[in-house]
C-alpha cells in the first residue's frame, strides 16, 4: 500500500458546522453601524443626488422625472434618460453660487482662526487648573448645550440689536453705540460663540494629557516658560489643533441658522443659498446640486479629520 494513498480531501471542514461566508452573530453586530449609515446617510444622499439631476416643474413635488414602478423596465430607462446635469450647469453659469461658495469658505476659515486664538488659551488655562476646578470649567464649556441652539442664537440678537444689551452697556460707560446686528461681524460672533466648545474640547484633551515632567525637562535644559511652550507644549498639541479646526471648519461652511439670524442681506453663505433655493425659489434640483458640491468639497477636510482622529487614537 502506498504511503500517499488516497488524495486528502482539499477542504475537510467543508460541509461541517456553519457554512463559510456566512457571518457569525458578532460579525453581524459589526454591520449595525453600517446599516445605520446606509439608512440615515447613504439613502438620503442618493435621494439628494437624484434630485440634483432632476428638472424643475410646477407640481407637487416640484421636480421631474419621478420613477413610475408600474411602468417596468422601459419606465426605468425613460427615468434615467430624463436625468441631466442642468442644475450643475446653471450653478456654473450663475456667479452668485461661486460667490456664495467662496464666501462660505472665507467665513469658515476666518472663524476657525479666531476660534483657535480664543479656544487655545481657554483650553490651556483649563488644563493648567487644579483637577477639581478643571471639572467645573469643563462643565461650564458643555453647559450651553443644555439650551436650544436656536434660543442661544436669538439671545445674540437681543445682545447685538441697536437697543440691545451691548449698546446699553456701552452707553453706561459713555461710549458711542455700535451697529453690529445683520453684519458679517455678527456672523463671526455667532460662529465663534456657537463652535467654541468644539474647538476647546479637543484642545483640552491633548493639553490635559501632556506629561508635566516634559515641561520640567525643558526648563532643566534651559527653556524659559515661554520657550517651553513653543518648543514642547505647542508642537505636542498640534493633533488637537488640527482636530478642533476641522471639527469647526467642516460644519461652519454649511452653517445656515447663524448667518440667517445674525447676518445681513449681503451675507452670502451656502447654507442660506440652499435654503433660498429650496423654500423661496422652489428649485429643489438647484438646492440639491449646491448641497452635493458642498459635500464634495468637504470630503477632503473630512478625510483629513478622520486620519487625525485615528492618529490620536493610536497615540493612546
Amino acid at each position: 500500500m502506498s504511503v500517499t494513498g488516497a488524495p486528502r480531501p482539499r477542504r475537510p471542514w467543508k460541509g461541517l458546522g456553519r457554512p463559510r461566508g456566512q457571518p457569525s452573530s458578532e460579525a453581524r453586530a459589526a454591520y449595525a453601524p453600517f446599516l445605520w449609515l446606509a439608512v440615515f446617510f447613504l439613502v438620503p444622499f442618493l435621494l439628494v443626488a437624484k434630485l440634483s439631476l432632476s428638472d424643475v416643474v410646477l407640481a407637487i413635488p416640484p421636480y421631474a422625472p419621478r420613477l413610475d414602478w408600474s411602468a417596468g423596465l422601459p419606465g426605468l430607462i425613460d427615468f434615467v434618460r430624463a436625468l441631466d446635469f442642468e442644475a450643475y450647469a446653471r450653478m456654473g453659469q450663475d456667479g452668485l453660487y461661486l460667490a456664495a461658495y467662496l464666501s462660505s469658505l472665507k467665513f469658515a476659515a476666518v472663524a476657525t482662526v479666531i476660534l483657535l486664538l480664543v479656544g487655545y488659551p481657554l483650553a490651556y488655562g483649563m488644563a493648567k487648573c487644579r483637577p477639581s476646578v478643571r471639572q467645573a470649567l469643563l462643565m461650564a464649556v458643555i453647559l450651553p448645550f443644555w439650551t436650544s441652539f436656536l434660543i442661544r442664537v436669538y439671545a445674540w440678537i437681543a445682545i447685538l440689536k441697536p437697543a440691545g444689551l451691548l449698546n446699553m452697556a456701552l452707553a453706561q460707560i459713555g461710549l458711542p453705540p455700535v451697529d453690529i446686528l445683520n453684519t458679517d461681524t455678527a456672523v463671526y460672533i455667532g460662529l465663534v460663540y456657537a463652535y467654541l466648545p468644539f474647538m476647546v474640547l479637543p484642545l483640552y484633551a491633548v493639553l490635559e494629557r501632556q506629561e508635566a515632567g516634559l515641561l520640567e525637562a525643558a526648563a532643566d535644559l534651559g527653556c524659559t516658560p515661554f520657550q517651553s511652550f513653543w518648543r514642547v507644549t505647542f508642537p505636542l498639541s498640534l493633533p488637537g489643533v488640527a482636530a478642533g479646526a476641522l471639527l469647526c471648519f467642516i460644519p461652519m461652511v454649511g452653517e445656515f441658522v447663524i448667518p440667517d439670524l445674525l447676518g445681513g442681506s449681503g451675507t452670502l453663505m451656502l447654507g442660506k443659498t440652499i435654503w433660498t433655493e429650496f423654500f423661496s425659489n422652489r428649485d429643489w434640483p438647484a438646492a440639491s446640486a449646491v448641497a452635493i458640491v458642498l459635500l464634495a468639497t468637504l470630503v477632503i477636510p473630512i478625510v483629513l479629520f478622520q486620519r487625525q482622529q485615528t492618529k490620536i487614537m493610536e497615540q493612546r
Binding site: 516634559l214 520640567e216 535644559l221 534651559g222
Partner: protein
C-alpha cells in the same frame, strides 16, 4: 589622584576623599535646608556638602525626602528655610533654566515629538550653540551611550534601556556642572540595571563630572557612589562611603536599611575599653563585640551581626560567647548564596548566609536540623540607637 585615573571600580577610591580635606571647597552645599508640604516636613534641616568629581548617592525609602532635596537643587522646589549654594553661589530665586545642573528624570521625560538626536540637541540649542557644534556634540553623545544607529528614531520606537540612555545623553550634552539622576535605573529589569550601574560609574569616571543620584535601591547606591547619604523621614541618618555605612552603620535604622542584619537587644555588662560584653536572653552564653566607642555598663544596646558573618555549625562548637542554638526553619537557596533562617528557642528567627563556594557539600544543612551559630567579636557591632 583625579577621577580619570581611578581604576578600582566598585572598590573604595581610598585616595579620593575631598570631604576629609578641611581646605577643600564643596561644589554644592545644602545648609540647614528645610522643605514642608502642607503640614508634612519633607526635608528637615539637612546640611550636606558634595564635592567636585564626586559620585554622591541619596539613599532612602520612598517618602524620605531624597527626591525633594534633589528637586530643590534643580530648582523645581523652593526651600522654606536654609540655603543651597553651587560653587559658592547662592541659588535662591534662580529658576531651573538658569541653573548649571541637568537632571535625568525617573520617567525619562523624553520629548515624544522629537527624534533621539533632537532630544539630545535640545539643551545645546537652548544654549544657542552654532549648528555644527551642536551636531558634533550630538554625535559624540550618541557614541558615548552607544546609540549611533538610532539618531532618527522617535522615543516611542525605543526600548526601555535605549530611552534611559537617550535621557542620560540629553542631560550630559550641555556639559552641566553637575548631573542629577532621579531613580535613573528604576524602570529597567534586573540584569540591565546591574550592567547599567557599572556603565554609569565608568561614564562618571570618563567625564569627571559630579553625579548626584537619588535611589531607594541600596545595591545601586553601593555600587555606583563614592559616598552615600542615608535618609530617614527628611533627615540624614548617616553619610559615608559604601563600606562605612555597611560595616559601620551608626544606628539600627541604617544597619537594617542597608543589607540584612540580625539585631539582639541586650544589656551591657562590661566595657573594658576594647571588648564590650552584653547579656541577652537569646544568647545564654553571653555576647561580645570589639568596639572603640564607650558604652556605659548597665545601659541597653543592640548587637548587630550581618547574616554573612554568622557561621553555621551542625556539631556543637565549644561553649563560649557569641554562640546561639536553634533549628533551621527555612532555607533560601540563591545559587551563589544560601540563606538559612534559624529559629531560636525564644521563637525569634535569625538569618545566616553562606557563600556556596563549592558545588558539593559533605553534610548539607537541612530543614529542621539543629544548628549552632557563632560569630567573631570583631564581626559584631554595638549600636546604641
Amino acid at each position: 589622584m583625579n577621577a580619570k585615573t581611578r581604576l578600582n571600580i566598585g572598590a573604595v577610591r581610598s585616595s579620593f576623599a575631598p570631604w576629609a580635606d578641611p581646605s577643600a571647597k564643596p561644589l554644592v552645599r545644602f545648609d540647614q535646608v528645610t522643605k514642608r508640604f502642607g503640614g508634612e516636613t519633607a526635608v528637615d534641616a539637612v546640611s550636606l556638602d558634595i564635592y567636585e568629581g564626586e559620585f554622591f548617592a541619596l539613599l532612602g525609602p520612598s517618602g524620605c525626602g531624597k527626591s525633594t532635596l534633589m528637586r530643590m537643587l534643580a530648582g523645581f522646589e523652593t526651600p522654606d528655610l536654609g540655603r543651597i549654594t553651587l560653587a559658592g553661589e547662592d541659588l535662591a530665586g534662580r529658576p531651573p533654566h538658569l541653573r548649571p545642573v541637568n537632571m535625568m528624570f525617573q520617567s525619562y521625560a523624553l520629548f515624544p515629538h522629537l527624534t533621539v538626536a533632537q532630544n539630545i540637541a535640545f539643551g545645546l540649542r537652548q544654549q544657542k550653540k552654532p549648528r555644527d557644534e551642536v551636531a558634533a556634540r550630538v554625535d559624540e553623545m550618541l557614541a558615548l551611550v552607544r546609540l549611533g544607529g538610532l539618531a532618527h528614531r522617535k522615543p516611542d520606537q525605543l526600548s526601555g534601556g535605549q530611552k534611559q540612555r537617550v535621557a542620560l545623553a540629553r542631560a550630559i550634552a550641555p556639559k552641566p556642572r553637575m548631573l542629577l539622576l532621579d531613580e535613573p535605573l528604576g524602570a529597567l529589569d534586573r540584569k540591565l540595571r546591574e550592567e547599567t550601574q557599572f556603565e554609569l560609574m565608568a561614564l562618571q569616571q570618563r567625564l569627571g563630572m559630579t553625579f548626584l543620584i537619588v535611589t531607594h535601591d541600596q545595591e545601586e547606591a553601593m555600587i555606583t557612589a563614592d559616598r552615600i547619604a542615608v535618609m530617614r523621614a527628611g533627615q540624614l541618618a548617616q553619610i559615608g562611603r559604601p563600606a562605612e555605612v555597611y560595616e559601620a552603620p551608626n544606628s539600627r535604622y541604617v544597619a537594617d536599611f542597608i543589607g540584612d542584619v540580625n539585631l539582639f537587644e541586650a544589656r551591657v555588662t562590661e566595657d573594658d575599653g576594647d571588648i564590650i560584653r552584653l547579656m541577652s536572653p537569646e544568647a545564654p552564653d553571653g555576647l561580645e563585640a570589639i568596639e572603640d566607642d564607650e558604652v556605659p555598663a548597665g545601659s541597653t544596646a543592640w548587637l548587630a551581626v550581618r547574616p554573612e558573618k554568622m557561621r553555621v555549625h551542625l556539631d556543637p562548637p565549644p561553649p563560649g560567647p557569641n554562640r546561639l542554638e536553634g533549628v533551621v526553619a527555612d532555607i533560601g537557596y540563591l545559587g551563589d548564596w544560601t540563606t538559612y533562617l534559624v529559629e531560636l528557642p525564644g521563637g525569634r528567627t535569625i538569618r545566616a548566609a553562606r557563600a556556596n563556594a563549592s558545588r558539593v557539600v559533605d553534610r548539607p544543612v537541612d530543614w529542621d536540623d539543629r544548628v549552632w551559630l557563632t560569630f567573631a567579636p570583631d564581626s559584631a557591632l554595638v549600636l546604641t540607637r
